[in-house]
């Protein structure tokens, strides 16, 4: 039985390793041939003319993600604090699973709402075409809320009761305890949740395709349409050949590396907490 399980584990893990090797093998040669600096920092994306600069997409991805974090992180952490410390446990027991349920809504649905409701709102009240950086950030921000809330709640709940009780016994209010004792103790878990959410935001494809307008240029304002790295791959993969296709794989490699770094940071942050205990 042990041998059978070893075989199972081995095949599962090698399948996963295969993906990593694969993407890298398809994209890395291109990066070396074309030049990493050119690839990353040139603003000319014209596949027909053999120009593959992804800088506008990199910038757009960064801005959309930043916007999403600005919206999602404070709301998410605030929600988590409220639900654990200021709401009766049974209520939280219902709301948390409900929020986790909402995390299961497919991203295309979020994107659709973005197109039908949010974009017109932006267009009518703020200007621009509606399909924009702002729309992308808002939709992504909402999408990452369940992740941040759920993991932050778990982190806050993991803070030992003794810490809270010690503070309250000294005459502190619940809010003071939260601010000075509970939150610092839950800090690493909350940080990890934010980092993970960032990874999700960066990797999101369908929703951003639908609401960001997909034009390849460096945005001058939040109301302008942008194209993210993921959208670029998804939109052009269908008909790309040769160098073009390899450039898209290379984009995949860039995304892969960024997300690996984020995941590594998240687990490093989590390990810090365990080490401190």
């Amino acid at each position: 039985m042990q041998r059978l399980l070893l075989a199972v584990a081995f095949s599962a893990l090698s399948a996963l390793l295969l993906i990593a090797i694969f993407i890298v093998s398809q994209g890395l040669p291109f990066i070396f041939r074309y030049g990493f600096k050119e690839f990353l920092f040139s603003s000319e994306w014209q596949p027909q003319a053999g120009k593959f600069g992804i800088f506008p997409m990199v910038v757009s991805t960064l801005w959309v993600t930043l916007g999403a974090m600005v919206i999602g992180a404070p709301l998410g952490v605030a929600g988590a604090i409220f639900l654990t410390e200021f709401v009766p446990r049974p209520v939280m027991g219902i709301v948390k699973p409900a929020i986790e349920l909402l995390a299961g809504i497919p991203s295309v649905v979020y994107g659709f709402i973005g197109v039908m409701v949010l974009a017109p709102l932006i267009r009518n009240h703020l200007g621009g075409p509606g399909l924009s950086l702002l729309a992308g950030s808002i939709i992504l921000g909402i999408m990452i809320l369940p992740t941040i809330i759920s993991i932050s709640i778990d982190s806050i709940m993991a803070v030992p009761k003794a810490y809270r009780e010690g503070s309250l016994a000294l005459g502190a209010t619940v809010w003071q305890t939260v601010r000075m004792v509970t939150l610092p103790a839950a800090r690493s878990g909350i940080a990890a949740s934010i980092i993970l959410a960032m990874g999700r935001a960066i990797g999101e494809t369908m929703a951003v395709i639908m609401v960001t307008g997909n034009s390849v240029k460096i945005p001058g304002s939040v109301l302008e349409p942008v194209r993210t790295l993921t959208a670029n791959i998804a939109l052009e993969m269908g008909y790309a050949t040769g160098m073009h296709r390899q450039a898209l794989f290379a984009t995949g490699v860039v995304l892969f590396v960024v997300i690996m770094i984020l995941n590594f940071s998240a687990s490093y942050v989590m390990r810090q907490r365990k080490a401190r205990r």
Binding site: L5, L6, I105, I113, M206, G252
Partner: protein, 278 residues
């Protein structure tokens, strides 16, 4: 100390409460909006009929069948592989740098964007292995996507089983495998189920990876080598190509209901399992 802590607290609660309310409103609004526009479209004919005129009219049955088939295939492949791997890592090996690395690897892969899985599936399964756009290519790709999640949640679930249960089992003369499948796995089942359900939810909602591997044929699949369309893909195409907003809402409603039902079913099953034991 100018500000009375009690007042500060009141202010803080107000701010936090509004933030929470805003969050919940946004999330509920999205579901509510889709359901409000989509539920009227859901009729028996819609759910069981075939699409006509590229989806402008008719029903979405092939898409429902496609979603079901693809999800079932993905879970059938990923669950045994994932649970087996997790069991091996927790019960048959010592904690070491090796297991830490493997765990980290699985975590990383869990975070890889679906578009990259789509690329991978497209090149390996569809092109190199000549499966074409097919149920099989899609199922294999999806199973790889949900594999890391199942490994992780199963691992957590197994680790949560108290050490004392294992000790008791061994002291009664059980082998390692007997302990695993008679005591540990049944106990870890609720957690394992969570991982599988997460995988099901992900499979149902996946679009990018599915389009590139399973294609988007509107016909009912007759074999695993046929291309299929899932509800998510159908919804996306209807919405993006502007074919029919009405049917798009209907498909979205059906999709949301499917995802929510799967999750609720999972919660219910888990609660029953835990209640039976305590």
């Amino acid at each position: 100390m100018k500000l009375d802590p009690k007042h500060t607290q009141k202010a803080a609660v107000a701010v936090l409460g509004s933030a929470t309310l805003l969050t919940l409103t946004a999330l509920v609004f999205i579901i509510g909006f889709v359901l409000q526009k989509g539920l009227p479209v859901l009729s028996w004919a819609f759910l069981t009929g075939s699409p006509q005129d590229m989806g402008r009219a008719g029903g979405i049955f092939p898409a429902i069948a496609g979603s079901a088939a693809l999800t079932v295939l993905a879970v059938l492949l990923a669950a045994p592989l994932g649970v087996g791997t997790a069991v091996y890592l927790t019960e048959y090996t010592r904690e070491s740098r090796m297991t830490a690395i493997i765990r980290f690897g699985a975590d990383c892969l869990a975070g890889i964007p679906s578009i990259i899985f789509g690329l991978f599936g497209f090149i390996l399964f569809v092109t190199i292995l000549k499966m074409g756009w097919s149920l099989l290519a899609g199922g294999l790709t999806l199973s790889l996507m949900i594999l890391p999640t199942i490994i992780r949640t199963t691992e957590e679930a197994i680790k949560a089983v108290p050490v004392s249960y294992r000790e008791v089992s061994y002291s009664l003369g059980a082998t390692r495998w007997q302990t695993v499948y008679k005591v540990i796995l049944p106990n870890a089942l609720p957690g394992i189920l969570t991982g599988v359900m997460l995988g099901v939810g992900r499979s149902l909602g996946e679009t990018a990876a599915v389009i590139f591997t399973a294609g988007s044929s509107l016909r009912m699949p007759a074999s695993v080598f046929d291309s299929v369309r899932t509800m998510a893909v159908h919804f996306y195409l209807l919405a993006r190509e502007g074919i029919s907003a009405e049917n798009a809402y209907g498909t979205a409603a059906a999709l949301i209901i499917a995802v929510l039902s799967v999750n609720l079913l999972a919660y219910w099953m888990m609660n029953r399992m835990i209640a039976k034991r305590t």
